[in-house]
């Protein structure tokens, strides 16, 4: 027998169910990032999701590492017996700001068709466009599950200052992951680091955390446009070239000569090598623009005064020798005219040059 519907009851029951759903989500915190249409319906992305203008870049920045990695091509590529898998971590210079996926360092390495120990070298871009060693280690620890044969860690002095380690949003929104790294690999993190975004119970509910849910959904939707166009960042028709006329400013993050090692996150490098375990890892001091313009006797570029950078290079040489880490200093291998909008962003030709300089070190690590 059909009973008449009582709208008020429907409303109350609906509200109750919604409340219950929110409580369950807050208590359970499901790992929804693992569910992805990438590598199933769409091809995986060539680089980790990042984008500030989603409607033009068909990409977006989110903080869910599961969702970020499951959208990446590496998550959907079964490692073949004849594959020599190289993962490259680093900042925007690795990710490839202003570059198409095939123009990045990884793209160029794959185009060279390197072959070593009878295996085909296949590189994967795990760069992410913020500068922080801790961010790099966090991504590396996640990338380890994809069985790399070699890790290349591209870095620069600006990733070292202590205050930059946890302030980058990707790290600040992944406190649990960073704490795990601290517990397992000796990464030093302040117990009361205020950079971390604390999630209250309300923020963990579906309503409170709706932004994250929407971001994951949008990432899936933009997979259509990524597949349809191959575009994953906005390419402006024009951009401002990296600064070569510099201010007569010797300061660097409030530091003065000599460079104070205690103000740099050297411990993160150690943690990174522990994360890599027995997998060979090459630490690379990435190329940067060396200006010849105004005040270039004081500064190399917008980022670095000469004294700080020179001392950093010396320090890295000593540190890597002491720890027996593989280290390659490629700071000056790219001419100034092959930089784009920043002192660390390369043109396609600059990336090609860098790839050619790195190739011999990949061969050296063949097992």
């Amino acid at each position: 027998m059909n009973q008449p519907i009582k709208p008020l009851n429907v409303l109350l029951k609906g509200l109750l169910l919604f409340l219950l759903f929110n409580l369950v989500i807050a208590a359970w915190q499901p790992q929804v990032g693992y569910a992805s249409l990438y590598n199933v319906l769409y091809p995986g992305r060539e680089r980790l999701p990042f984008g500030e203008n989603s409607k033009q870049s068909y990409n977006l920045s989110l903080f869910n590492l599961d969702a970020m990695f499951t959208s990446h091509v590496i998550a959907g590529t079964q490692k073949a017996d004849n594959e020599f898998r190289v993962i490259i971590i680093g900042d925007s210079s690795v990710w490839g700001t202003l570059l198409k996926p095939e123009e990045t360092l990884v793209g160029q390495l794959n185009q060279i068709n390197l072959n070593t120990c009878g295996k085909n070298v296949r590189a994967y871009n795990l760069g992410y466009p913020t500068i922080s060693l801790t961010k790099d280690v966090m991504i590396l620890s996640y990338g380890m599950q994809y069985n790399p044969d070699l890790i290349i860690w591209m870095t620069t002095l600006d990733a070292f200052p202590l205050e930059k380690q946890t302030s980058t949003p990707l790290v600040a929104n992944n406190e649990k992951k960073v704490r795990e790294l601290a517990a397992n690999y000796g990464l030093k993190v302040e117990a009361n680091d205020s950079n971390f975004e604390k999630k209250s119970f309300w923020k963990k509910t579906f309503i409170g955390d709706r932004r994250s849910w929407a971001d994951i959904l949008r990432l899936q939707i933009y997979g259509v446009m990524w597949s349809a166009t191959g575009i994953d960042q906005f390419y402006p028709a024009e951009y401002e070239k990296a600064q070569t006329e510099l201010a007569a400013d010797e300061s660097y993050h409030g530091l003065t000569a000599p460079l104070n090692e205690n103000a740099l996150a050297l411990n993160v490098l150690e943690a990174g090598f522990r994360v890599a375990r027995e997998i060979p890892m090459i630490l690379v001091n990435e190329p940067m623009l060396i200006s010849t313009g105004t005040n270039s006797d004081i500064r190399y570029n917008f980022f670095y005064p000469r004294w700080a950078y020179d001392e950093y290079r010396e320090m890295m040489n000593t540190l890597t020798r002491q720890n027996n880490w593989q280290y390659v200093d490629l700071w000056n291998v790219v001419p100034a005219n092959e930089f784009t909008n920043s002192a660390i962003h390369l043109t396609p030709a600059g990336e090609r040059l860098l790839a050619e300089n790195l190739a011999p070190y990949i061969f050296e690590n063949c097992k």
């Binding site: 709208p7 033009q56 939707i221 259509v224 446009m225 349809a228």
Partner: protein
């Protein structure tokens, strides 16, 4: 319309329906509608015009009522009260310019100087006074009203004229002329207002216009749930609901209205806005690299426009239902129709009904009245193409809307002829339910794809890019 505004309007309507019931229903609808046309008007780059365009809407509606109303309706004292209330509301809104920043929440920007508004009042008052002195209302007033309404419509729909208008208004306002654009002058809701005005003028000309006072007429034309996106109701039907007593909000009405409102919100803000991320547009049309994905983004556009538009209709119907007004339906599963004629009978139904009543039928009658009438197929071709071209121009007078109108006009003609030729054969073939289903599904798929390809002209602004997209769809490029 943004989600927060829809929710505010829905909540206001719900509260009124729940607590005040029938008391002051007509006044509530009138006052809210007047305020809402100011509230929804977007900011315009031409100084003062985001305040004056809603005033212009009110003035045009008042003058149109005056020339269409019968003597009995015109002589009601209530009209004076309505005029006083509407003027008072406009003046109050204008006076918010003297309040601190933040108090102008009902207008797009800080309202302009009071003098201009007072001048508009004076002009309107003098015009009404002059009209009231006329002892005999000639039909030519109605014709003039019709011409002026269509003229205004063309002014905002023809990009070259809109550009000229923006240029002139910027020059008058003493603003920079370097960044003039045809989009400077966005008169919110005027497309639908114009349809309602033309409908009432034509009905007055044919003697079918019901006797309504100024308040009722104003409420009909600017009824806030349907002001921005329709549906286009008919005056005589709307008035019946407006005049009917409202018993108050019972659970059945609340349930039906709420269901419709939620459905509309879901269609618009979940489905349509999600599809908008991947739907065909001027940018991605040239970026897509393969035929398969080109079809996907064309499909996405086809569904986005449907869910967007029908979502807004559901929202309008839901809010109106709370207020005791049962607006007409606008969509009835158009993509599930097996031919183009049925598609157009179920897509934006109130618009197509309007065109049928005020253009297609009169023009067909006129063609038939010729001493040497055209052949039937030629007559169908002319009327279908002309009607669809006009519907295209209603959106904007551009090459792409012309092509879209032609596409559908010719499509309707071809379907009409094909149906004529194959009706008997189709009936003879569809002897079993399976065959009927096959024919129906084939028809639905063919119609949907015809419509989807037509949307390419609708979504894009350039015929060249549209053609490139079509070539890509068929693997030619």
């Amino acid at each position: 319309m943004a989600l927060d505004r829809i929710l505010i309007l829905a909540a206001t309507s719900l509260l009124w329906a729940a607590f005040l019931r029938d008391r002051g229903k007509a006044w509530f609808l009138l006052i809210t509608s007047v305020l809402v046309i100011f509230w929804l008007q977007p900011t315009l780059p031409i100084r003062g015009f985001d305040f004056w365009t809603p005033i212009a809407t009110l003035v045009i509606v008042i003058l149109t009522w005056y020339i269409t109303a019968d003597n009995e309706a015109r002589s009601k004292r209530k009209n004076i009260i309505v005029l006083a209330i509407v003027s008072g509301l406009v003046l109050l809104l204008n006076l918010t310019r003297f309040l601190p920043t933040g108090f102008q929440f009902l207008t797009a920007s800080r309202p302009p100087q009071l003098e201009t508004t007072l001048l508009i009042f004076l002009g309107t008052g003098l015009t009404l006074f002059a009209l009231s002195r006329l002892t005999h209302f000639s039909a030519s007033f109605l014709t003039l009203g019709l011409i002026l309404t269509i003229g205004l419509f063309l002014l905002i729909k023809i990009p070259a004229l809109s550009y000229w208008l923006s240029y002139s208004l910027r020059a008058i306002a003493g603003q920079s002329l370097t960044s003039v654009s045809a989009n400077d002058f966005r008169w919110l809701g005027f497309s639908y207002v114009a349809f309602r005005l033309i409908h009432t003028i034509r009905d007055r000309q044919s003697g079918r216009f019901p006797s309504v006072d100024l308040g009722e007429y104003l409420t009909y034309v600017i009824f806030f749930p349907a002001f921005t996106a329709g549906p286009i109701d008919r005056l005589e039907r709307f008035i019946k609901d407006l005049r009917a007593p409202l018993a108050g909000l019972n659970l059945e009405t609340f349930y039906a209205a709420g269901q419709r409102l939620l459905l509309g919100l879901f269609k618009k803000f979940v489905i349509a806005d999600t599809l908008a991320l991947i739907a065909l547009n001027d940018t991605n049309a040239t970026q897509v690299t393969s035929t398969f994905w080109m079809w996907i983004i064309v499909y996405a556009y086809a569904f986005q426009i449907y869910f967007d538009f029908s979502g807004y209709t559901d929202i309008a119907l839901g809010i109106a239902l709370l207020l005791g007004i049962k607006l007409p339906e606008n969509f009835a599963s158009p993509y599930l129709k097996p031919n183009l004629t049925q598609f157009w009978n179920n897509w934006h139904m109130t618009l197509t009904q309007w065109f049928r009543a005020y253009f297609f039928n009169p023009i067909t009658r006129w063609l038939r009245s010729w001493q040497k009438p055209l052949s039937i197929p030629m007559m169908i071709l002319l009327t279908q193409v002309a009607t669809m071209l006009l519907i295209g121009f209603w959106h904007s007078v551009t090459w792409n809307f012309t092509l879209w109108g032609l596409w559908h006009g010719l499509g309707l003609f071809v379907h009409n002829r094909w149906n004529d030729m194959t009706k008997a054969k189709a009936a003879a073939w569809t002897t079993t339910p399976t065959k009927q289903t096959i024919l129906y599904i084939s028809g639905v798929l063919l119609t949907f794809h015809f419509v989807a390809i037509g949307w390419i002209f609708f979504a894009l602004s350039s015929p060249t890019v549209s053609w490139q997209v079509i070539l890509k769809l068929f693997g030619v490029q």
